[in-house]
């Protein structure tokens, strides 16, 4: 590890000026343009969700046999993206990886916004989303309860817990910075607003002690969630008998894919944010390289998943499984998704074995976009392609999404970007108190070591 995790040794005041300043320096023309475009896409999402709720999900392209299509693909894709945020903020915290400090706030924000997009889809996919509360065991005079032996309430529990824990972890970590903003923001209005959100944080040593204990416990609680949420999501498929779904490799395969796509999204967001806010001293090539290495590792887990799927199909000797894995996917109606996932998820990430590629933003950024495309294609391949080629050839069909499907996907991309742009301007995108602690530790290490 030659590259440092922090360039220079800025003072506490300088760190505050640089990292808190992102909230009060005016946004440029590019930011306004991005804000307008993503805001327009968010309005498109609102319109199409309203249209879907009022008319029904017949507006979408899914039908028997492909009853699960865009909504479930988007759900799995978005929630997978969230996983890298939790991986960075929780698992790397427990392993005391110093480089996580510069990017954990941003990655956690990505998680929250991605889970928000994801949660929309199962609710809409119910067909009658106004009954979504039936998923929760509320006291009802009908005396009919959620069937907790089916996968849907598991998803509801897993996603609700994941969102809540991510939100609490993010907000707790932000309290000291909100207090810092309360005390240093330039206008009175900002001071009042940040003061309210800071919940009266005053940096008392005894409060810090409880805070650190709670933060560590939350990191420990979020750690199993990284592994469990996507395992539960994958169980939705694995408990079905559909060829291409019914496989025990699914939990690790999905978790690997989730972290893989999440790191790609982290790079997609970090690289422009670093350039726009000139954060090169705190987000160094070391951070990009570490993300790229994890992307390479999790990409190999995904490739292993593909290989095991082929192997198990062959080993099972089941004609439908064999046909699904060996013929339908590479030659069937959705073959484009198959080739996109092989190229973007298996072939292209191998360039990351090369050290210079891992540090080059010009290579990493396009690669991260392609990996996101590849992972979306992979979910298309697993979900739709499997349903199109089930046991009975008389059930075989093709699938075409409608403009509403495409519009809703674009709308969630816009909403995600919109929320992220708001985040960039409203709160410090890098944890200032953690950066101060880290800088002091680094300085101390240099003086005494």
């Amino acid at each position: 590890m030659s590259d440092p995790i922090l360039i220079g040794r800025p003072s506490d005041a300088a760190l505050g000026e640089q990292l808190l300043g992102t909230t009060w320096r005016p946004g440029g023309r590019g930011w306004k343009l991005a804000f307008t475009i993503s805001g327009a896409l968010m309005l498109l999402l609102f319109a199409l969700v309203t249209y879907t709720v009022v008319t029904g999900i017949g507006l979408w392209g899914n039908n028997i046999p492909a009853a699960w299509a865009f909504a479930i693909i988007n759900f799995v894709w978005w929630i997978g993206i969230g996983h890298a945020g939790t991986f960075i903020s929780a698992i790397l915290y427990l392993f005391e990886q110093g480089w996580r400090t510069s990017i954990n706030r941003l990655a956690e924000a990505m998680t929250l916004f991605a889970v928000m997009q994801a949660a929309l889809f199962p609710a809409l996919h119910l067909g009658r989303p106004w009954f979504a509360y039936w998923l929760f065991p509320y006291p009802s005079q009908m005396k009919v309860w959620p069937q907790v032996k089916s996968a849907l309430p598991w998803d509801a529990a897993a996603v609700t817990t994941y969102f809540t824990i991510s939100l609490l972890f993010w907000y707790l970590g932000m309290l000291p910075d909100l207090a810092s903003l309360r005390d240093s923001a330039p206008t009175r209005r900002r001071r009042i607003i940040y003061g309210l959100f800071a919940l009266g944080w005053n940096g008392k040593a005894s409060t810090w002690r409880h805070y650190k204990a709670a933060y560590l416990v939350l990191a420990g609680l979020a750690t199993p969630l990284v592994l469990s949420v996507h395992s539960v999501v994958s169980s939705d498929f694995a408990i079905g008998l559909v060829p291409g779904w019914h496989s025990t490799i699914f939990p690790p395969y999905f978790v690997g894919g989730a972290i893989f796509s999440g790191f790609a999204m982290v790079l997609t967001l970090v690289i422009p944010a670093r350039a726009v806010f000139r954060l090169h001293n705190v987000i160094t090539p070391r951070h990009l390289e570490s993300c790229a290495k994890l992307m390479l590792v999790t990409g190999l887990v995904v490739a292993y998943g593909y290989i095991v799927e082929w192997f198990l199909a062959w080993y099972s000797g089941n004609a439908a499984e064999l046909y699904q894995a060996w013929i339908a996917r590479p030659t069937g109606p959705g073959r484009l998704a198959f080739y996109a996932s092989m190229i973007c998820n298996v072939l292209l990430p191998q360039v990351l074995w090369w050290g210079r590629a891992r540090r080059s933003v010009w290579l990493l950024w396009p690669l991260s976009l392609l990996i996101n495309v590849g992972m979306w294609s992979e979910r298309f391949m697993i979900i739709v392609q499997s349903l199109l080629r089930e046991y009975l050839p008389s059930m075989w069909a093709t699938y075409t999404p409608t403009w509403v499907d495409l519009g809703i996907l674009a709308g969630t991309l816009g909403t995600f970007t919109f929320l992220f742009l708001l985040f960039l301007r409203l709160v410090p995108i890098i944890s200032v108190s953690e950066m101060r602690e880290m800088t002091h530790d680094l300085v101390r290490g240099e003086h005494h070591g």
């Binding site: 907790v148 598991w154 907000y171 240093s184 008392k204 040593a205 409880h210 939350l218």
Partner: protein, 176 residues
């Protein structure tokens, strides 16, 4: 009537040295305000580690136990329905929700527990509005000496603060 003296220090080491000096003079009711959790200050202050994790553990167990009980109560007892050959009380199928609710309740208690034991979410606190105290969330380290400390003596305290290099000394007005 004022009940505490606040003093600003330039570095965490200066503050930690001041805390040790006050401890040496018999002061016990000291606290500090810091822009980040500095280990030196924590060590100098001493005190026992937070016991919040025990409470979080209890809430987590209650959440998990409650979730398991509720699942059994609803689908194993109140409205037993056999789907896919699974018996009404089917522990394996209850594992996921039990685990998730354990994590959820532990997480909620970690967050709200911090607010409660850290005495946050108050409209006003004792040190708010002290002139220059803004720096405590920026780059300065503040010592708090309680006047209720049995060892407290105004003259001695001021002399110690001056000797340990306090940049400024403030006596906040009590707001009640």
């Amino acid at each position: 009537m004022a009940d505490r003296v606040l003093a600003e220090y330039e570095t965490e080491d200066a503050l930690a040295a001041a805390i040790r000096r006050f401890h040496g003079e018999g002061y016990r009711r000291l606290d500090a305000y810091l822009p980040f959790p500095a280990h030196e200050v924590d060590e100098a202050l001493g005190g026992r580690p937070s016991r919040l994790p025990y409470a979080i553990f209890v809430f987590g167990i209650l959440g998990a136990g409650g979730a398991y009980f509720l699942q059994w109560f609803l689908v194993g007892f109140l409205y037993p329905l056999i789907v896919g050959g699974r018996p009404p009380h089917f522990p394996l199928a209850f594992v996921i929700i039990t685990f998730e609710m354990g994590v959820l309740f532990a997480g909620l208690s970690a967050f709200f527990g911090t607010l409660v034991v850290g005495r946050l979410v108050r409209l006003l606190d004792e040190v708010q509005g002290t002139p220059g105290f803004d720096s405590a969330t920026r780059d300065r380290f503040w010592l708090e000496v309680s006047m209720r400390d049995p060892a407290y003596d105004s003259g001695v305290a001021r002399r110690l603060l001056a000797e340990t290099g306090a940049l400024r000394i403030e006596v906040p007005e009590v707001l009640r």
